[in-house]
Amino acid sequence: MNSNFKIFLKGIVDVSPLMIPVVPFGLIFGVLAIDIGFTPLETMGMSLIVFGGASQIVLLQLFSGGASSLVIISSVGAVNSRHLLYGAVVSEHLSDLKLIWKIIISYFLIDQAFAISNEYLKKNKDRNRYFHLVGGGATCWVIWQSTTLLGIILGASIPEKLGLSFAVPLTFLALLVNDFRKFINVIVIIISGTVATLGYNYIPFKAYVIVAALAGLFTAMILTKTIKIK
């Protein structure tokens, strides 16, 4: 059996390549939050309390568009519903753990750590294999907090002309690169994007994110039932 620390280190090494895009993502978040009018303390607080790139960007996007708190919170919830899947998938590897470990690990269950640790957990049967997930999550935590801070500091000196806010859709686009190869996913992407764009000005309370996501999921439900190609 490998030592806890060794597995923790392995988690850090494995997640490192995925940290490269987190750097610009964190910077952009810090810059945008200040730009929109959050104080440096609130911006840092968001990264510490929420600790989720997609959630925090959605928060900013809707906040700057004047959405109500209820819509912002439920949109953040909708964006996060993918974590339910992650949790369900890794829970079988964590079922023997004490509650306190489950509470800690939940905070670190983010896209990147899930992506790499899911592979590791499947292949290894050591009782302490969950340290891999903690290593990956902790690495991401350090990168996310430090780039947020850097974004806050740099914020004022990055010219608006650069159009860095365009990096937001690009980052989400990048998270979908593998889905563009699958037929059903492409249809879902088109439906959701079209509903959001057309509904942007017409769906009340800026709830277009939720409405579009539900339309996309509904499409997925129908298509996966009728078409059986993967």
Partner: protein, 104 residues
């Protein structure tokens, strides 16, 4: 609602989506069908952020002409599909956007 209250609620709901499945639900409660549908969540939700950010301009109007973001996003998407690289997707999109607004 103050900004801090909003941040704390958003943090809570984010944490709960991570915690509930790990702590409360047994994996048997999750059948293959639900797993299959949940695997579409990213494809269903990210475009709702991507598309308006590209097609809706600062004044809240749909803009398809003289919109360099469209071409830049298409280039990023093609690079992304070919390279399967997150970082290549982001940088090719930003680079083509800057090329289109500063050079062309």
């Amino acid at each position: 609602m103050s900004n801090w209250t909003l941040i704390i609620y958003c943090g809570l709901i984010t944490y709960l989506t991570r915690f509930t499945m790990i702590a409360l639900i047994k994996k048997e409660m999750f059948n293959d069908r639900i797993r299959e549908i949940l695997s579409f969540v990213p494809s269903a939700i990210f475009p709702a952020i991507i598309f308006p950010a590209i097609f809706i301009n600062e004044t809240g109007l749909f803009q398809i002409e003289e919109n360099p973001k469209i071409l830049a996003a298409i280039i990023a998407m093609v690079i992304g599909i070919l390279s399967r690289s997150i970082i290549a997707t982001i940088f090719s999109g930003l680079a083509s956007y800057w090329f289109l607004i500063f050079v062309v």
